[in-house]
Symmetry: C2
Subunit: 234 residues, 2 copies
Protein backbone atom coordinates (compact mmCIF):
# COMPACT_ATOMS: atom_id res chain seq x y z
CA UNK A 1 0.00 0.00 0.00
CA UNK A 2 1.23 3.44 -0.96
CA UNK A 3 1.52 5.82 1.97
CA UNK A 4 2.08 9.56 2.00
CA UNK A 5 4.74 10.10 4.58
CA UNK A 6 3.40 13.40 5.81
CA UNK A 7 0.22 11.59 6.88
CA UNK A 8 2.12 8.78 8.57
CA UNK A 9 0.42 8.83 11.93
CA UNK A 10 -1.55 6.19 13.79
CA UNK A 11 -5.30 5.85 13.44
CA UNK A 12 -5.73 6.82 17.06
CA UNK A 13 -3.79 10.03 16.65
CA UNK A 14 -5.88 10.94 13.63
CA UNK A 15 -9.08 10.27 15.54
CA UNK A 16 -7.94 12.36 18.48
CA UNK A 17 -7.04 15.19 16.16
CA UNK A 18 -10.43 15.03 14.45
CA UNK A 19 -12.20 15.15 17.81
CA UNK A 20 -10.22 18.12 18.93
CA UNK A 21 -11.07 19.96 15.71
CA UNK A 22 -14.75 19.23 16.21
CA UNK A 23 -14.71 20.81 19.66
CA UNK A 24 -12.34 23.71 19.21
CA UNK A 25 -13.92 25.78 21.96
CA UNK A 26 -13.40 24.36 25.39
CA UNK A 27 -16.77 23.13 26.65
CA UNK A 28 -17.41 23.62 30.35
CA UNK A 29 -17.58 20.55 32.55
CA UNK A 30 -21.15 21.09 33.67
CA UNK A 31 -24.44 19.25 33.14
CA UNK A 32 -25.26 21.59 30.23
CA UNK A 33 -21.81 21.33 28.72
CA UNK A 34 -21.86 17.56 28.87
CA UNK A 35 -25.31 17.41 27.26
CA UNK A 36 -24.08 19.75 24.54
CA UNK A 37 -21.18 17.49 23.70
CA UNK A 38 -23.42 14.43 23.94
CA UNK A 39 -25.90 15.87 21.43
CA UNK A 40 -23.10 16.69 19.03
CA UNK A 41 -21.76 13.16 19.20
CA UNK A 42 -25.32 11.87 18.75
CA UNK A 43 -25.73 13.88 15.55
CA UNK A 44 -22.38 12.90 14.15
CA UNK A 45 -21.96 9.30 15.22
CA UNK A 46 -25.20 7.98 16.68
CA UNK A 47 -26.33 7.02 20.16
CA UNK A 48 -24.10 4.00 20.38
CA UNK A 49 -21.10 6.34 20.42
CA UNK A 50 -22.58 8.52 23.15
CA UNK A 51 -20.64 6.70 25.84
CA UNK A 52 -19.19 7.87 29.10
CA UNK A 53 -15.67 7.35 27.83
CA UNK A 54 -16.30 9.04 24.48
CA UNK A 55 -17.76 12.14 26.14
CA UNK A 56 -14.96 12.25 28.68
CA UNK A 57 -12.39 12.11 25.89
CA UNK A 58 -14.10 14.96 24.06
CA UNK A 59 -13.98 16.98 27.27
CA UNK A 60 -10.34 16.09 27.88
CA UNK A 61 -10.95 14.28 31.14
CA UNK A 62 -11.45 10.78 32.52
CA UNK A 63 -14.76 8.89 32.42
CA UNK A 64 -15.24 9.20 36.17
CA UNK A 65 -15.86 12.93 35.81
CA UNK A 66 -19.15 12.41 33.98
CA UNK A 67 -20.53 10.52 36.97
CA UNK A 68 -20.49 13.74 38.95
CA UNK A 69 -23.40 14.96 36.78
CA UNK A 70 -25.19 11.80 35.62
CA UNK A 71 -26.03 8.72 37.65
CA UNK A 72 -25.21 6.33 34.82
CA UNK A 73 -25.46 5.86 31.05
CA UNK A 74 -29.22 5.40 31.10
CA UNK A 75 -29.71 8.61 33.01
CA UNK A 76 -27.61 10.40 30.41
CA UNK A 77 -29.60 8.96 27.51
CA UNK A 78 -32.96 9.84 29.08
CA UNK A 79 -31.88 13.45 29.48
CA UNK A 80 -30.70 13.56 25.87
CA UNK A 81 -34.10 12.32 24.75
CA UNK A 82 -35.94 15.01 26.67
CA UNK A 83 -33.73 17.64 25.09
CA UNK A 84 -34.70 16.33 21.65
CA UNK A 85 -38.40 16.38 22.53
CA UNK A 86 -38.08 20.12 23.05
CA UNK A 87 -38.47 20.49 19.29
CA UNK A 88 -42.08 19.33 19.03
CA UNK A 89 -43.86 20.79 21.99
CA UNK A 90 -46.87 22.82 20.96
CA UNK A 91 -49.56 21.49 18.63
CA UNK A 92 -51.29 23.90 16.29
CA UNK A 93 -53.80 25.47 18.64
CA UNK A 94 -56.38 25.86 15.94
CA UNK A 95 -57.24 24.42 12.57
CA UNK A 96 -58.91 21.17 11.77
CA UNK A 97 -60.37 18.33 13.72
CA UNK A 98 -58.84 17.19 16.99
CA UNK A 99 -58.07 13.79 15.44
CA UNK A 100 -55.97 15.36 12.73
CA UNK A 101 -54.15 17.60 15.14
CA UNK A 102 -53.46 14.63 17.42
CA UNK A 103 -52.17 12.63 14.48
CA UNK A 104 -49.97 15.54 13.46
CA UNK A 105 -48.54 15.81 16.97
CA UNK A 106 -47.83 12.10 17.16
CA UNK A 107 -46.30 12.16 13.70
CA UNK A 108 -43.92 14.89 14.80
CA UNK A 109 -43.04 12.77 17.82
CA UNK A 110 -42.38 9.85 15.52
CA UNK A 111 -40.23 12.02 13.27
CA UNK A 112 -37.98 12.94 16.18
CA UNK A 113 -37.57 9.30 17.08
CA UNK A 114 -36.97 8.43 13.43
CA UNK A 115 -34.21 10.99 13.15
CA UNK A 116 -32.14 9.34 15.86
CA UNK A 117 -32.15 5.63 15.18
CA UNK A 118 -31.40 4.16 18.59
CA UNK A 119 -33.32 6.66 20.70
CA UNK A 120 -36.70 5.04 20.06
CA UNK A 121 -35.58 1.71 21.42
CA UNK A 122 -34.24 3.49 24.46
CA UNK A 123 -37.59 5.21 24.93
CA UNK A 124 -39.34 1.86 25.12
CA UNK A 125 -37.15 0.38 27.78
CA UNK A 126 -37.03 3.34 30.12
CA UNK A 127 -39.66 5.22 32.02
CA UNK A 128 -39.47 8.63 30.38
CA UNK A 129 -39.57 11.88 32.22
CA UNK A 130 -38.46 15.46 31.87
CA UNK A 131 -40.29 18.70 31.11
CA UNK A 132 -40.63 18.23 27.36
CA UNK A 133 -41.94 14.72 27.63
CA UNK A 134 -44.55 15.86 30.13
CA UNK A 135 -45.52 18.67 27.78
CA UNK A 136 -46.05 16.21 24.94
CA UNK A 137 -48.26 14.02 27.13
CA UNK A 138 -50.21 17.03 28.33
CA UNK A 139 -50.81 18.35 24.82
CA UNK A 140 -51.99 14.97 23.58
CA UNK A 141 -54.30 14.59 26.58
CA UNK A 142 -55.85 17.99 25.85
CA UNK A 143 -56.69 16.83 22.32
CA UNK A 144 -58.26 13.62 23.60
CA UNK A 145 -60.37 15.65 26.00
CA UNK A 146 -61.41 17.91 23.15
CA UNK A 147 -62.52 14.74 21.39
CA UNK A 148 -64.80 13.95 24.30
CA UNK A 149 -63.01 10.88 25.64
CA UNK A 150 -63.81 10.10 29.29
CA UNK A 151 -60.89 10.65 31.67
CA UNK A 152 -60.07 7.04 32.43
CA UNK A 153 -60.15 6.19 28.77
CA UNK A 154 -57.99 9.17 27.83
CA UNK A 155 -55.44 8.18 30.46
CA UNK A 156 -55.08 4.69 29.06
CA UNK A 157 -55.35 5.87 25.46
CA UNK A 158 -52.38 8.21 25.70
CA UNK A 159 -50.27 5.33 26.92
CA UNK A 160 -51.33 3.13 24.05
CA UNK A 161 -50.81 5.84 21.46
CA UNK A 162 -47.32 6.73 22.66
CA UNK A 163 -46.41 3.07 22.94
CA UNK A 164 -47.51 2.53 19.36
CA UNK A 165 -45.62 5.49 17.98
CA UNK A 166 -42.47 4.60 19.88
CA UNK A 167 -42.62 0.98 18.83
CA UNK A 168 -43.11 1.87 15.16
CA UNK A 169 -40.13 4.18 15.33
CA UNK A 170 -38.01 1.59 17.11
CA UNK A 171 -38.88 -0.98 14.49
CA UNK A 172 -38.44 1.19 11.45
CA UNK A 173 -35.46 3.21 12.49
CA UNK A 174 -33.41 0.19 13.42
CA UNK A 175 -33.82 -1.25 9.98
CA UNK A 176 -32.90 1.85 8.09
CA UNK A 177 -29.90 2.39 10.34
CA UNK A 178 -28.52 -1.13 10.21
CA UNK A 179 -26.04 -1.64 7.40
CA UNK A 180 -27.64 -5.00 6.69
CA UNK A 181 -31.15 -3.54 6.40
CA UNK A 182 -31.52 -4.21 2.70
CA UNK A 183 -30.35 -7.78 3.11
CA UNK A 184 -32.79 -8.42 5.96
CA UNK A 185 -35.67 -6.98 4.00
CA UNK A 186 -35.11 -9.29 1.10
CA UNK A 187 -34.54 -12.21 3.44
CA UNK A 188 -38.04 -11.71 4.82
CA UNK A 189 -39.50 -11.38 1.34
CA UNK A 190 -37.77 -14.58 0.41
CA UNK A 191 -39.11 -16.36 3.46
CA UNK A 192 -42.64 -15.23 2.70
CA UNK A 193 -42.30 -16.26 -0.91
CA UNK A 194 -40.80 -19.61 0.02
CA UNK A 195 -43.25 -20.38 2.83
CA UNK A 196 -44.33 -23.99 2.60
CA UNK A 197 -48.10 -23.85 1.89
CA UNK A 198 -48.74 -27.01 3.91
CA UNK A 199 -46.95 -25.71 7.02
CA UNK A 200 -47.83 -22.04 6.72
CA UNK A 201 -51.02 -21.92 4.64
CA UNK A 202 -52.01 -18.39 5.67
CA UNK A 203 -48.62 -16.86 4.95
CA UNK A 204 -48.49 -18.61 1.59
CA UNK A 205 -52.05 -17.50 0.77
CA UNK A 206 -51.55 -13.85 1.71
CA UNK A 207 -48.09 -13.65 0.15
CA UNK A 208 -47.12 -10.19 -0.93
CA UNK A 209 -50.06 -8.68 0.92
CA UNK A 210 -47.99 -9.13 4.09
CA UNK A 211 -45.28 -6.86 2.70
CA UNK A 212 -47.59 -4.31 1.11
CA UNK A 213 -47.77 -0.60 1.78
CA UNK A 214 -45.26 2.04 2.70
CA UNK A 215 -44.12 2.77 6.24
CA UNK A 216 -46.12 5.99 6.20
CA UNK A 217 -49.39 4.45 5.02
CA UNK A 218 -49.07 1.65 7.57
CA UNK A 219 -48.30 4.13 10.32
CA UNK A 220 -51.40 6.15 9.50
CA UNK A 221 -53.57 3.07 9.23
CA UNK A 222 -52.36 2.01 12.66
CA UNK A 223 -53.16 5.39 14.19
CA UNK A 224 -56.61 5.39 12.59
CA UNK A 225 -57.25 1.88 13.84
CA UNK A 226 -56.26 2.82 17.38
CA UNK A 227 -58.41 5.94 17.36
CA UNK A 228 -61.36 4.05 15.90
CA UNK A 229 -61.04 1.43 18.62
CA UNK A 230 -60.87 4.06 21.32
CA UNK A 231 -63.98 5.83 20.06
CA UNK A 232 -65.99 2.67 19.42
CA UNK A 233 -66.46 1.90 23.11
CA UNK A 234 -68.16 5.23 23.81
Amino acid sequence: MFVHNEYMTTEDTLKARRRRQQHPTKVALTRQGILEVALQILHEEGLSKVTMRRIATALDTGPASIYVYFHNTEDLHVQILDALLGQIEAPAATGGQWQNRLKALLTRYRDVLFAYPEIARMALSTRLSGPHYLALVDNALALLQEGGLPDRQAAWAIDLLLLYVTAVAAEQSTRQAAPSAAAEESALAFEVAAADPSRYPQIARLGDELLSGTGQSRFEWGLDTLLAGMLSSD
Copy 2:
Protein backbone atom coordinates in the same frame (compact mmCIF):
# COMPACT_ATOMS: atom_id res chain seq x y z
CA MET B 1 -11.87 -8.40 57.00
CA PHE B 2 -11.90 -11.95 58.30
CA VAL B 3 -11.08 -14.57 55.71
CA HIS B 4 -11.33 -18.34 55.91
CA ASN B 5 -8.06 -19.56 54.52
CA GLU B 6 -9.48 -22.67 52.88
CA TYR B 7 -11.62 -20.41 50.67
CA MET B 8 -8.74 -18.12 49.78
CA THR B 9 -9.08 -18.13 46.04
CA THR B 10 -9.69 -15.36 43.57
CA GLU B 11 -13.16 -14.39 42.41
CA ASP B 12 -12.27 -15.41 38.89
CA THR B 13 -11.24 -18.89 39.93
CA LEU B 14 -14.50 -19.31 41.83
CA LYS B 15 -16.49 -18.17 38.81
CA ALA B 16 -14.66 -20.51 36.49
CA ARG B 17 -15.29 -23.37 38.89
CA ARG B 18 -19.00 -22.57 39.06
CA ARG B 19 -19.24 -22.51 35.29
CA ARG B 20 -17.52 -25.81 34.94
CA GLN B 21 -19.89 -27.39 37.47
CA GLN B 22 -22.87 -26.05 35.55
CA HIS B 23 -21.69 -27.74 32.38
CA PRO B 24 -20.25 -31.01 33.60
CA THR B 25 -20.96 -32.88 30.37
CA LYS B 26 -18.89 -31.68 27.47
CA VAL B 27 -21.23 -29.94 25.01
CA ALA B 28 -20.44 -30.45 21.35
CA LEU B 29 -19.19 -27.49 19.37
CA THR B 30 -22.07 -27.44 16.90
CA ARG B 31 -24.93 -25.06 16.17
CA GLN B 32 -27.22 -27.11 18.41
CA GLY B 33 -24.67 -27.38 21.19
CA ILE B 34 -24.00 -23.66 21.17
CA LEU B 35 -27.73 -22.87 21.28
CA GLU B 36 -28.09 -25.28 24.18
CA VAL B 37 -25.41 -23.52 26.18
CA ALA B 38 -26.82 -20.14 25.17
CA LEU B 39 -30.29 -21.04 26.46
CA GLN B 40 -28.85 -22.23 29.74
CA ILE B 41 -26.96 -18.99 30.24
CA LEU B 42 -30.13 -17.09 29.29
CA HIS B 43 -32.11 -18.90 31.99
CA GLU B 44 -29.48 -18.44 34.64
CA GLU B 45 -28.06 -15.01 33.95
CA GLY B 46 -30.19 -13.21 31.37
CA LEU B 47 -29.66 -12.20 27.76
CA SER B 48 -27.01 -9.62 28.57
CA LYS B 49 -24.70 -12.46 29.61
CA VAL B 50 -25.34 -14.43 26.44
CA THR B 51 -22.22 -13.05 24.79
CA MET B 52 -19.83 -14.59 22.33
CA ARG B 53 -17.07 -14.63 24.91
CA ARG B 54 -19.23 -16.07 27.68
CA ILE B 55 -20.44 -18.93 25.47
CA ALA B 56 -16.93 -19.63 24.23
CA THR B 57 -15.68 -19.83 27.81
CA ALA B 58 -18.44 -22.28 28.72
CA LEU B 59 -17.41 -24.41 25.76
CA ASP B 60 -13.72 -24.17 26.63
CA THR B 61 -12.68 -22.40 23.48
CA GLY B 62 -11.99 -18.93 22.13
CA PRO B 63 -14.66 -16.48 20.98
CA ALA B 64 -13.70 -16.85 17.35
CA SER B 65 -15.04 -20.39 17.31
CA ILE B 66 -18.65 -19.25 17.70
CA TYR B 67 -18.38 -17.25 14.49
CA VAL B 68 -18.13 -20.51 12.57
CA TYR B 69 -21.82 -21.12 13.36
CA PHE B 70 -23.35 -17.67 13.83
CA HIS B 71 -22.77 -14.55 11.77
CA ASN B 72 -22.74 -12.24 14.78
CA THR B 73 -24.36 -11.60 18.14
CA GLU B 74 -27.67 -10.50 16.63
CA ASP B 75 -27.91 -13.66 14.58
CA LEU B 76 -27.35 -15.68 17.74
CA HIS B 77 -30.04 -13.81 19.65
CA VAL B 78 -32.62 -14.17 16.88
CA GLN B 79 -32.10 -17.91 16.80
CA ILE B 80 -32.49 -18.10 20.58
CA LEU B 81 -35.78 -16.25 20.32
CA ASP B 82 -37.14 -18.64 17.73
CA ALA B 83 -36.26 -21.57 19.97
CA LEU B 84 -38.25 -19.97 22.78
CA LEU B 85 -41.25 -19.41 20.52
CA GLY B 86 -41.42 -23.16 20.01
CA GLN B 87 -43.30 -23.34 23.30
CA ILE B 88 -46.46 -21.56 22.15
CA GLU B 89 -47.17 -22.77 18.68
CA ALA B 90 -50.64 -24.24 18.38
CA PRO B 91 -53.75 -22.34 19.48
CA ALA B 92 -56.68 -24.30 20.88
CA ALA B 93 -58.30 -25.52 17.69
CA THR B 94 -61.77 -25.36 19.13
CA GLY B 95 -63.64 -23.64 21.91
CA GLY B 96 -64.86 -20.10 22.10
CA GLN B 97 -64.92 -17.16 19.80
CA TRP B 98 -62.04 -16.43 17.45
CA GLN B 99 -61.37 -13.17 19.30
CA ASN B 100 -60.82 -14.96 22.57
CA ARG B 101 -58.61 -17.58 20.99
CA LEU B 102 -56.56 -14.88 19.29
CA LYS B 103 -56.21 -13.02 22.57
CA ALA B 104 -55.16 -16.24 24.28
CA LEU B 105 -52.53 -16.89 21.61
CA LEU B 106 -51.15 -13.36 21.85
CA THR B 107 -51.14 -13.56 25.63
CA ARG B 108 -49.04 -16.70 25.46
CA TYR B 109 -46.68 -14.87 23.12
CA ARG B 110 -46.50 -12.03 25.61
CA ASP B 111 -45.81 -14.46 28.44
CA VAL B 112 -42.79 -15.88 26.64
CA LEU B 113 -41.42 -12.39 26.09
CA PHE B 114 -42.16 -11.51 29.71
CA ALA B 115 -40.24 -14.50 30.97
CA TYR B 116 -37.02 -13.32 29.35
CA PRO B 117 -36.62 -9.64 30.12
CA GLU B 118 -34.34 -8.47 27.34
CA ILE B 119 -35.69 -10.66 24.55
CA ALA B 120 -38.71 -8.46 23.89
CA ARG B 121 -36.59 -5.43 23.19
CA MET B 122 -34.49 -7.54 20.87
CA ALA B 123 -37.63 -8.65 19.07
CA LEU B 124 -38.55 -5.05 18.30
CA SER B 125 -35.24 -4.09 16.80
CA THR B 126 -34.72 -7.09 14.57
CA ARG B 127 -36.65 -8.55 11.72
CA LEU B 128 -37.72 -11.88 13.15
CA SER B 129 -37.67 -15.14 11.32
CA GLY B 130 -37.45 -18.84 11.95
CA PRO B 131 -39.99 -21.69 11.80
CA HIS B 132 -41.68 -21.02 15.13
CA TYR B 133 -42.14 -17.34 14.48
CA LEU B 134 -43.70 -18.10 11.11
CA ALA B 135 -46.01 -20.61 12.80
CA LEU B 136 -47.17 -17.99 15.27
CA VAL B 137 -47.90 -15.53 12.48
CA ASP B 138 -49.71 -18.20 10.49
CA ASN B 139 -51.90 -19.26 13.41
CA ALA B 140 -52.84 -15.69 14.21
CA LEU B 141 -53.67 -15.01 10.55
CA ALA B 142 -55.96 -18.04 10.50
CA LEU B 143 -57.90 -16.65 13.42
CA LEU B 144 -58.24 -13.26 11.75
CA GLN B 145 -59.55 -14.96 8.63
CA GLU B 146 -62.03 -16.90 10.75
CA GLY B 147 -63.16 -13.51 12.04
CA GLY B 148 -63.90 -12.45 8.50
CA LEU B 149 -61.23 -9.79 8.08
CA PRO B 150 -60.37 -9.02 4.47
CA ASP B 151 -56.89 -10.16 3.43
CA ARG B 152 -55.22 -6.78 3.18
CA GLN B 153 -56.59 -5.79 6.55
CA ALA B 154 -55.55 -9.07 8.15
CA ALA B 155 -52.03 -8.64 6.79
CA TRP B 156 -51.67 -5.21 8.35
CA ALA B 157 -53.55 -6.21 11.49
CA ILE B 158 -51.18 -9.04 12.36
CA ASP B 159 -48.29 -6.62 12.17
CA LEU B 160 -50.01 -4.15 14.48
CA LEU B 161 -51.04 -6.83 16.98
CA LEU B 162 -47.57 -8.36 17.22
CA LEU B 163 -46.00 -4.93 17.45
CA TYR B 164 -48.32 -4.08 20.32
CA VAL B 165 -47.67 -7.27 22.23
CA THR B 166 -43.92 -7.02 21.77
CA ALA B 167 -43.84 -3.38 22.81
CA VAL B 168 -45.89 -4.05 25.94
CA ALA B 169 -43.55 -6.86 26.88
CA ALA B 170 -40.48 -4.74 26.20
CA GLU B 171 -41.85 -1.95 28.34
CA GLN B 172 -43.02 -4.09 31.23
CA SER B 173 -40.27 -6.63 31.37
CA THR B 174 -37.54 -4.04 31.45
CA ARG B 175 -39.03 -2.42 34.51
CA GLN B 176 -39.50 -5.59 36.48
CA ALA B 177 -35.99 -6.71 35.59
CA ALA B 178 -34.22 -3.48 36.44
CA PRO B 179 -33.04 -3.30 40.01
CA SER B 180 -34.20 0.29 40.16
CA ALA B 181 -37.73 -0.55 38.96
CA ALA B 182 -39.44 0.31 42.22
CA ALA B 183 -37.60 3.60 42.47
CA GLU B 184 -38.53 4.56 38.91
CA GLU B 185 -42.17 3.71 39.46
CA SER B 186 -42.43 5.98 42.48
CA ALA B 187 -40.44 8.67 40.72
CA LEU B 188 -43.11 8.77 38.01
CA ALA B 189 -45.90 8.85 40.57
CA PHE B 190 -44.15 11.73 42.24
CA GLU B 191 -43.79 13.58 38.99
CA VAL B 192 -47.47 13.15 38.19
CA ALA B 193 -48.44 14.27 41.68
CA ALA B 194 -46.14 17.24 41.54
CA ALA B 195 -47.06 18.33 38.03
CA ASP B 196 -47.47 22.07 37.93
CA PRO B 197 -51.18 22.63 37.08
CA SER B 198 -50.40 25.76 35.09
CA ARG B 199 -47.76 24.08 32.92
CA TYR B 200 -49.34 20.63 32.68
CA PRO B 201 -53.05 21.14 33.31
CA GLN B 202 -54.15 17.80 31.85
CA ILE B 203 -51.66 15.73 33.81
CA ALA B 204 -52.58 17.56 37.00
CA ARG B 205 -56.29 17.11 36.31
CA LEU B 206 -56.12 13.40 35.50
CA GLY B 207 -53.66 12.66 38.30
CA ASP B 208 -53.84 9.12 39.54
CA GLU B 209 -56.02 8.08 36.62
CA LEU B 210 -52.80 8.05 34.56
CA LEU B 211 -51.31 5.40 36.83
CA SER B 212 -54.48 3.35 37.27
CA GLY B 213 -55.00 -0.30 36.46
CA THR B 214 -52.81 -3.39 36.51
CA GLY B 215 -50.53 -4.42 33.71
CA GLN B 216 -52.88 -7.23 32.82
CA SER B 217 -56.03 -5.12 32.65
CA ARG B 218 -54.25 -2.50 30.57
CA PHE B 219 -52.89 -5.18 28.25
CA GLU B 220 -56.37 -6.60 27.69
CA TRP B 221 -57.90 -3.18 27.21
CA GLY B 222 -55.25 -2.48 24.56
CA LEU B 223 -55.96 -5.71 22.71
CA ASP B 224 -59.70 -5.05 22.81
CA THR B 225 -59.16 -1.53 21.55
CA LEU B 226 -57.03 -2.76 18.67
CA LEU B 227 -59.53 -5.45 17.70
CA ALA B 228 -62.44 -3.02 17.95
CA GLY B 229 -60.60 -0.60 15.68
CA MET B 230 -59.84 -3.31 13.16
CA LEU B 231 -63.45 -4.44 13.02
CA SER B 232 -64.97 -0.96 12.95
CA SER B 233 -63.78 -0.22 9.42
CA ASP B 234 -65.61 -3.21 7.96
